[in-house]
């Protein structure tokens, strides 16, 4: 008798948690992922409010304070918390403004490769006779070149710069989306619900985008997170090679390229931009791991 009332008293919503809530419960169990999320929130905050958060203008040169060490060291100035670079620019302000660029490059390149990638993958999956293999061969060619080298090749054609960096990175990450989408689509196409939708008279576009695509999203979300981090890394590498965003723009990799000459005198100019890159990429990768475990338990042991 008592058990019956207990069951009746239970709120049905606790028995079947919403997908979002269930996802969050899985995600929050992974401490690394939560730490990564918190760090990324900090970076996003810095990027959004850079002009207000940063103590100085990133390109203002304090000629009297060239290569000032961080404030906690001897000779440090409290107004330059992380020290200044070779032109007397405040390092902290440049790093904060750099987060805008890195996030923007990451976001733009992910969107620019995700959307065509999903489309090509869907087309490739739905037309397995001729178009599909043709698309996959083209993607194989793109995968044959290591991503950074392909990006370097593209920049060599287009010339260095912010926009071209984004384009290069977007092109480089396209194949993985196409492959993932196509593989997921081909797995779904034989399912009963797709047959049912076909029988119900769903058109090609409805089948593609409404019926099948939502069921393929989990690996794509994970891949988008991971390629966001490699976009930041590749953009910084291009900047470091002098092929990406050009100085004096405060891009993290570009900052490192000019810091090489001060390796003997000013460790902060060398270490801090790289540390920022490492921590951001690490945070995103941790988040990506958490997302993968929460969204797609099948992939748990894949690298």
């Amino acid at each position: 008798m008592t058990t019956e009332t207990a069951i009746a008293a239970v709120d049905p919503s606790t028995l079947y948690p919403s997908p979002l809530k269930e996802f969050w419960q899985h995600f929050a169990r992974n401490k690394g992922a939560v730490a990564g999320l918190l760090f990324m929130l900090l970076i996003v905050f810095c990027a959004l409010f850079a002009p207000w958060v940063a103590p100085h203008d990133p390109s203002e040169q304090f000629r009297d304070y060239l290569l000032t060490p961080p404030s906690w060291l001897e000779g440090g100035q409290l107004q330059f918390l992380l020290g200044t670079d070779e032109l007397g620019r405040d390092l902290l302000s440049r790093l904060i403004h750099g987060s805008r660029l890195s996030l923007m490059i990451g976001l733009a390149s992910v969107l620019m490769s995700l959307i065509p990638g999903i489309f090509l993958g869907l087309v490739g999956g739905f037309f397995p006779r001729f178009i599909g293999p043709a698309i996959m061969r083209v993607m194989d060619v793109m995968l044959a070149l290591p991503s950074l080298l392909l990006a370097v090749a593209i920049v060599a054609i287009l010339g260095p710069g912010l926009i071209n960096t984004v384009i290069a990175i977007a092109v480089v990450s396209l194949p993985s989306y196409v492959r993932l989408t196509r593989a997921a689509v081909m797995g779904e196409l034989n399912r009963d619900y797709v047959t049912a939708a076909r029988l119900a008279g769903a058109g090609l576009f409805r089948l593609m985008f409404v019926t099948v695509l939502p069921n393929c999203m989990a690996p794509l979300i994970v891949q988008a997170t991971l390629s966001f981090s490699s976009a930041i890394l590749d953009a910084a590498a291009l900047g470091f090679l002098g092929l990406g965003v050009q100085p004096p723009t405060p891009e993290w990799g570009t900052m490192l390229a000019s810091a090489r000459d001060y390796i003997e005198r000013a460790w902060w100019v060398v270490s801090l931009p790289g540390l920022t890159i490492l921590l951001s990429v690490l945070a995103i990768n941790l988040m990506g791991d958490g997302l993968r475990d929460a969204l797609d338990p099948k992939l748990k042991n894949a690298v």
């Binding site: 690394g32 061969r137 083209v138 194989d140 060619v141 044959a144 070149l145 290591p146 991503s147 950074l148 080298l149 370097v152 090749a153 920049v155 060599a156 054609i157 287009l158 010339g159 981090s229 890394l233 910084a236 590498a237 470091f240 090679l241 002098g242 092929l243 990799g253 490192l256 810091a259 090489r260 390796i263 003997e264 460790w267 060398v270 270490s271 931009p273 790289g274 540390l275 890159i277 490492l278 990429v281 690490l282 990768n285 941790l286 042991n301 690298v303």
Partner: protein, 336 residues
């Protein structure tokens, strides 16, 4: 086995032509006038302009240009550098051993350390060591290696003075390039201390280049090992009283190696990309630095065919790994 190799070879052909198409279009997609871009000046004298177009074969229809390009490639003619007037193929051959030596050293470092760390982490699952290896490998995987290189130079070369900052060998030594591998050439020469000097030059770049493969291999070995240790045949081997070392290395690691080998092969592409960065940091005279300098100097024939050569290299290595994988694992070989 033969049909397996033939099928894989057949898959290579379209990829190869795709890559030639990419490198072919490279020089033709440059925004603006290619001759002006290559000469680095505007309003080139019209006659010289026409001559340059003629020389580069850019005045013919596109399909004819492409056929000519393929024809040249088939004859082994990769063009010549605009800067040095040397043939691209010759320059590639002189510089490639440096990159190969660096890559092999990096793989050796990553392979031994990664396998060891992965196996121990798997055996002591959940221990402090395991968490440490996983944490470090995650950090290694996220590492901007160009910064990592600068950091190591700052620490070991500038502060401690243990290793040289750049290059392959001290200028004091005059080493004749017999094999192109500095380690072998220094041993062949009779210069005293040259070998040790070459080793000291090699250590930091190899560590930098090996960092990401190390992280990947350690992670992969650990998860493959954990998988294998759960198998019935490992339990059987233990039950029949084999020594733990034999179970781990002969029954366990040998089977765990199959996925690890694949990852090893996939790392070669990443290794060549990393070589571009590593060689730039350490002024290592290999093909990565060559490529970046050529881009800076707008030396398009070198850029074009240098990229082609590197891509072919990656395809070739992946092909060999595929074949080895087929040899090691009959399930792959017989699948359609």
């Amino acid at each position: 086995m033969f049909t397996f190799i033939a099928r894989r070879l057949g898959l290579l052909i379209p990829t190869f032509f795709g890559i030639t198409l990419l490198t072919f279009s490279l020089i033709r997609l440059i925004p603006g006038d290619p001759v002006e871009v290559m000469m680095g000046e505007r309003r080139v004298d019209p006659e010289m302009h026409a001559q340059a177009l003629e020389r580069l074969g850019l005045n013919k229809p596109l399909y004819e240009q492409y056929l000519n390009y393929i024809g040249d490639l088939a004859q082994g003619n990769l063009g010549e550098s605009l800067r040095t007037r040397e043939s691209v193929w010759h320059e590639f051959l002189t510089l490639f051993p440096a990159t190969l030596e660096l890559s092999l050293a990096a793989l050796l470092f990553a392979g031994t350390l990664g396998l060891l760390a992965g196996v121990i982490a798997a055996l002591k699952r959940g221990s402090l060591f395991d968490h440490g290896v996983m944490g470090i490998s995650l950090a290694g995987y996220s590492m901007p290696i160009f910064w990592w290189g600068l950091l190591l130079i700052m620490f070991f070369s500038v502060w401690l003075g243990w290793t040289p900052v750049s290059g392959r060998i001290d200028l004091l030594y005059d080493i004749e390039p017999v094999t192109g591998f500095m380690l072998i050439d220094t041993l062949l020469s009779d210069e005293e201390g040259a070998f040790l000097d070459a080793v000291r030059h090699l250590i930091l770049p190899a560590i930098v280049l090996g960092t990401i493969p190390l992280a990947v291999i350690a992670r992969m070995t650990r998860s493959a090992m954990l998988e294998v240790l759960r198998e019935d045949y490992v339990r059987t081997a233990r039950a029949k009283g084999l020594s733990p070392t034999r179970v781990i290395f002969v029954h366990g690691l040998r089977n765990a190696l199959i996925p690890v080998l694949t990852v090893f092969g996939l790392q070669v592409g990443a290794l060549l990309a990393g070589a571009v960065l590593t060689e730039t940091i350490f002024s290592w005279p290999g093909i990565g630095k060559w490529l970046i300098e050529s881009i800076g100097a707008r030396d398009y024939p070198v850029v074009q065919n240098g990229i082609l050569l590197i891509a072919c290299l990656v395809i070739l290595v992946n092909f060999v790994v595929d074949i080895l994988y087929g040899l090691a694992n009959p399930r792959i070989r017989h699948q359609r």
